[in-house]
Symmetry: C2
Subunit: 359 residues, 2 copies
């Protein structure tokens, strides 16, 4: 793709910023957004930063009917020295294009998107909160906009990035969460769309999440869709267990989302020389190991919560309390290291962060 110029159109109507102590997740949005349009023949074109504004679409637009959408989620942090730091954004943009391929959406130039994101962050820099645990959540997404009711890939799309200053994702913060192992509903199956970050996977998860919530659990742990035996992932996190001295996480397959945090955790554990493996792991193995006193820790990993210790797991009416319901040593160390690197407070051994130059 030839270099495209990003047009910038600033808002003269600045919104009031939220109180930094009262940030929740994904409810408040900044003053601007970044958009790129796609149409057959023209390709991705007209990259621009504009005031945050409503989208106007024909009621027959495909996004309202056939779920051909993809999205991403990453964060920007304000370092204490004033730099804006992005955590491994290229991993998210690579994954966006993997999702695009699965959903028959034309891939987008990752460099262009990264430039657009940087310009957007420059413009909305004042929206990045600084207090511990806070950050600016970045939501890139693509919607099909063609007005046509045939079931087919759209010929028109809109790519957008919106920004939202956020506090902790779970109301528990870094405190352990209670997780319900779902053995009726299925989120994704081999041959399906689980590996892609597409709306339908999340729509499919709502019913089970509702059940888990009503039983007093904060998240669902999904099992494979074929045998309902092997552990896959949590609602919006990958999952790790420390069993008998070794950290284990389910090996990637077609129905698990490859988390950027998961990948970072694996690298850190190897760097620290903590035994770790990616393999198939059944829910039975976890419960059996627990009965032998071998389950030392469990935690989820994801952009929103970073590291989320699991204090309790419930499967088929049996509940197990892990590490006395307290945050484990490894979960704590990972959380401190990752959030430290993200904020620029801890040495970034792996060159994970990208600093956005503000002119």
């Amino acid at each position: 793709m030839t270099e495209q110029t990003i047009e910038i159109n600033l808002s003269n109507n600045k919104k009031e910023k939220p109180n930094p102590d009262q940030l929740s997740f994904g409810k408040v949005f900044t003053d601007h957004m970044f958009t790129v349009s796609y149409s057959e023949g023209k390709g991705w074109h007209e990259p621009k930063v504009t005031p945050y504004q409503p989208i106007t679409l024909d009621p027959a637009s495909m996004v309202f009917h056939y779920g051909q959408t993809v999205f991403e989620g990453l964060k920007a942090y304000l370092a204490n020295d004033g730099r804006i730091l992005l955590f491994r954004p290229k991993k998210n943009l690579e994954r966006l294009n993997l999702s695009n391929q699965r959903l028959c959406i034309p891939t987008i130039d990752e460099e262009l998107v990264l430039s657009g994101l940087k310009k957007l962050l420059e413009v909305d820099k004042e929206w990045i909160p600084n207090a511990p645990g806070t950050s600016l959540y970045i939501r890139p997404f693509i919607i099909p906009t063609e007005a046509f009711l045939g079931v087919a890939p759209s010929n028109h799309y809109q790519f957008m990035i919106i920004l939202s200053p956020v506090g902790s994702y779970y109301k528990e913060g870094i405190n352990p969460v209670k997780i319900y192992v779902e053995d009726q509903y299925v989120r994704a199956v081999s041959g399906g769309t689980g590996k892609a970050k597409t709306g339908g996977n999340y729509a499919a998860s709502l019913k089970a999440q509702e059940g888990a919530t009503s039983r007093g659990f904060s998240q669902v742990l999904w099992l494979d869709g074929v045998e309902k035996k092997y552990i896959e992932e949590v609602g919006s996190m990958n999952i790790f267990f420390k069993i008998n001295g070794e950290v284990v996480t389910p090996a990637l397959n077609e129905s698990i989302l490859e988390g950027v945090t998961r990948n970072s955790v694996l690298q850190l554990l190897k760097y620290w020389e903590i035994p770790v493996s990616e393999r198939k792991i059944s829910i039975e193995e976890v419960f059996e190991s627990y009965s032998k006193g071998l389950v030392e820790e469990a935690f989820g990993t994801g952009t929103a919560a970073v590291i989320s210790p699991v204090g309790e797991l419930s499967w088929r009416g049996e509940n197990i309390v892990i590490n006395n319901g307290e945050t484990g040593t490894i979960a704590k160390k990972l959380y401190d290291t990752l959030t430290g690197i993200q904020k620029g407070d801890v040495t970034d051994y792996f060159d994970w962060t990208i600093s956005v130059d503000v002119k």
Copy 2:
């Protein structure tokens, strides 16, 4: 729900109607639409017929991110005596509410929707084409509109009905189609959302459809997501085979959409005393029966195409030509009977059609 008054707001800007000989599927829409809003506390409210107009939504609206959508598809016909006929609309509205339940969307009053649809048809009556094979396609759908990035059911929804005058769904018309049996990608799995009419199922199907099209097939036949062995359905049709004198269709399960046309075909076959059964049927059984010369017919059933004979099936590189690639006797009889009832030309033994009174 107490009776709600449907507000009517007519358009003064009538669009030009398409040439009845050049109707395609789902590209042209009428002058009006019917909408009902939902918000927490208020429930479904403000039913109204308004000019067909764009929808304006915040970029953070859930519909753009998490696929919590449902839809329906049915048709209105203009009888030769001038009456507007609807084919079994209550079945579609029942199914809409089943889909709602699976997707954690509040159910909607079916009577209210039917009244709204009738009002809308009255207003846009002139848009209903009359030529053979044409009809007015009706698309009810629900989208989540809350601006919030948490993965949770929305607190706000919009229900809408839009109308589109249509010709034949497949360019082949009633002529036989070539179908590719998909054994890599999966549309839906037990425990998933296959039984619901929700966007994600269709998004998941695009990649396989793309492959089938590039190989010269017009549709995909889906197998079960667990063993990839049992036949489920076609992209937007249920499937029937006539094997050794008996008509067989896959029994309903959690991953098959219960088609209104499927149900009507089953009733007609029973009425005609043609042997018919709903049961598990493997793709192997079909190919084995074929090699013994026992596969007499195959056809798909769905609102868009009504009956679509299958002339050729391809599975794992093996192609079989059914009934010499010609429309079978039963497919033809079903097509003539169903379209005849729908148009008011054939006695409606089952009271399937509802006539809309126009004042």
